[in-house]
């Protein structure tokens, strides 16, 4: 088990290093951040001074070393866009907005997706199943940015003024969290439906029924537990998405989270923030995958003893 965790951790570390190199090189390709950031009337000496301050005058390899050092120290260097703050501070400023929204959206996803999936499986072939599957199909096919715009429009025309942009009262969470969770609900619904159908067809469920247990107990106690393991991987992906912010949705709703920050930073060529964000996202994914792999290995000995990882 220890060996398994060690190997997977090493793989994760390699991934993070790879992502850091890719993002670093890409960011350097984007051209001189001075073109975007420096005021047009800035003198050449001042520009050079600013370049020296940010280390842009040094050779690429040295810049990368400095970047790794600043990452190790945890501040990721000074932000170009927000002069007085480090990249880490800027991201930490914006993270809560994404986390709050992600939390609400996750709750919504689970509260709607799981019961609908179970209902769809238990009432297979009925109108409930048809509605559930229709919803799953819609959620997987609708472009989020368009759904957001249409919802804003419908609400503004039909319901009247509720906040449709920015972060404010609890009402401002309604639309963005619906849009973010719609894909998750669809995926969770599908996963739970097929997992439930599989367990409901097994012998021990038949035995539970023969014992005379109520349908409610059969479904909730005996079928749900094994069925809940299959969508485990998905919970990992879901939580990563919720932590790292949904860029497109945050742009549509002007939500001041890390997703919107990524958009602003990339457009402003704020290298430190772009690099820090990319590393942050990659690290979240790697850690989450590692936890899922360990969880699977814990649940299912075949994974850690046999070959490959669970997929």
């Amino acid at each position: 088990m220890a060996r398994y965790i060690l190997i997977n951790s090493f793989r994760g570390l390699l991934t993070i290093i790879f992502v850091s190199v890719v993002v670093f090189s890409l960011a350097r390709l984007t051209g001189d951040p001075m073109d975007v950031l420096a005021p047009t009337d800035m003198s050449d000496e001042d520009q050079d001074a600013l370049r020296a301050l940010w280390g842009l005058d040094k050779p690429l390899l040295e810049q990368y070393v400095i970047f790794v050092q600043s990452a190790a120290e945890g501040d990721f260097g000074p932000s170009y866009l927000y002069r007085s703050e480090t990249a880490a501070e800027v991201i930490l400023d914006r993270l809560p907005a994404s986390l709050y929204l992600g939390f609400v959206a996750t709750i919504l996803t689970i509260v709607v997706g799981v019961p609908l999936g179970i209902l769809s499986a238990v009432k297979r072939g009925t109108i409930y199943d048809a509605i559930g599957r229709g919803f799953a199909l819609f959620g997987q096919s609708v472009p989020e940015f368009w759904l957001g715009i249409v919802l804003i429009w419908v609400v503004a025309v039909q319901v009247g003024p509720i906040p449709t942009s920015g972060m404010g009262t609890w009402q401002s969470y309604i639309l963005p969290s619906i849009v973010i969770s719609i894909f998750g609900i669809a995926a969770l619904l599908r996963l739970f439906r097929s997992a439930m159908l599989e367990t409901l067809g097994t012998e021990y469920i038949k035995l539970a029924r023969l014992k005379g247990l109520s349908e409610w107990r059969v479904v909730c106690k005996h079928a749900l537990k094994p069925a809940a393991i299959a969508p485990l991987t998905f919970f990992g992906q879901l939580s990563v998405r919720m932590i790292t912010g949904a860029t497109v949705v945050e742009i549509v709703f002007s939500w001041p989270g890390v997703g919107l920050l990524a958009y602003e930073a990339a457009n402003a060529r704020d290298f430190p923030i772009v690099q820090a964000l990319a590393l942050f996202v990659a690290a979240c994914v790697v850690v989450m995958n590692l936890m899922i792999d360990i969880a699977y290995a814990y649940i299912d000995p075949r994974v850690r003893l046999g070959e490959g990882t669970a997929s």
């Binding site: 390699l14 991934t15 890719v22 609708v142 715009i149 429009w153 503004a156 990659a282």
Partner: protein, 307 residues
């Protein structure tokens, strides 16, 4: 996977089961009932037909509008006219014409991207699954790594670097789309490799290349067809999302995502600018997903989701 059929008396020691699109693994003709005709029709009339014959169908210029006709509503609304059936945008360009040319962009981007992803993903997946060892380790690691890349952020950075263009978006989408193909093909190759006919082919002296192409590839082909169909939806959504945030197809080209972005601030005044392109994306992606689900049931009954 399918059971090798051994034909007696041919003397051919390594006959692999030859999956046939029209026959199932027991050699019976597959039934053509439950074909999703409506989704297929939507794909045909909303994507293929307009994309191929855009120049013949469209009446107006997709890039230049008549400013005096700007913000004309659709024909059934008050003030609409048959000249512009779905209305015009703020520059007086016909929405329907732009939708038709937009189909061309969606079709081109998704076709090229899927092909690139399919080829790269199959090669890496076949190699990883068949040879195992360090090749497998590297490919699996690459797949995991590409799944953890922050896609939107990288797209924004790349576009900032070399500017938005058709080629840029195709490269960005291709770079990420191969990973799911590779993962799936690797998994299937692992199980096909254990089949008897592969061992026989090895004994008969076939080279790994020949085994992979003649014996393994045909057995994963059905999966590839299903995956490619389902991934079209993913590519179209990703392309339009990137175009929407300005990191995809550059203006004034009529990508459906760009069109939604164009009408975003005018939703209360002219809802039709954003509404129709988004609806087109929804319908086309929905149709590809339905067709893909059906293909999966059709080609591999074992994978059928219980109905």
């Amino acid at each position: 996977m399918s059971v090798p059929e051994i034909t007696e008396g041919t003397g051919d020691a390594h006959i692999s089961p030859r999956p046939n699109f029209w026959r199932n693994r027991f050699g019976r003709r597959r039934r053509l009932d439950r074909v999703p005709w409506i989704p297929i029709a939507i794909i045909f009339f909303l994507l293929l037909l307009p994309a191929i014959f855009a120049d013949l169908i469209a009446v107006h210029d997709p890039l230049r509008g008549v400013l005096s006709d700007r913000l004309t509503p659709p024909v059934w609304e008050e003030g609409g006219s048959w000249t512009y059936p779905l209305g015009t945008d703020k520059l007086g360009r016909d929405i329907l014409t732009r939708l038709i040319y937009g189909a061309r962009i969606s079709l081109a981007v998704s076709t090229i991207t899927i092909l690139v992803g399919l080829v790269i993903g199959s090669i890496l997946g076949l190699a990883a699954g068949y040879f195992g060892g360090w090749i497998d380790w590297i490919v699996s690691w690459l797949v995991d790594t590409f799944f953890s890349l922050p896609g939107v952020l990288l797209a924004l950075v790349i576009v900032a670097a070399i500017g938005p263009s058709f080629l840029t978006i195709v490269i960005i989408l291709s770079v990420t789309i191969w990973a799911p193909f590779a993962r799936q093909v690797r998994g299937e190759t692992l199980s096909v490799r254990e089949m008897d006919f592969i061992a026989r082919a090895q004994v008969a002296g076939s080279s790994p290349m020949r085994i992979l192409i003649r014996h393994v590839l045909p057995n994963v082909a059905n999966t590839l067809i299903v995956m490619a169909t389902l991934q079209v939806g993913v590519v179209i959504i990703n392309e339009s999302s990137l175009s929407f945030i300005g990191a995809g197809i550059p203006r004034p080209n009529p990508s459906w995502g760009v069109m939604v972005a164009d009408g975003r601030d005018l939703m209360l005044v002219a809802w039709w600018i954003s509404f129709f392109p988004g609806l087109a994306i929804l319908l086309v992606v929905l149709s590809f997903n339905l067709t893909g689900d059906w293909l999966r049931d059709f080609l591999d009954p074992k994978m059928r989701q219980r109905q």
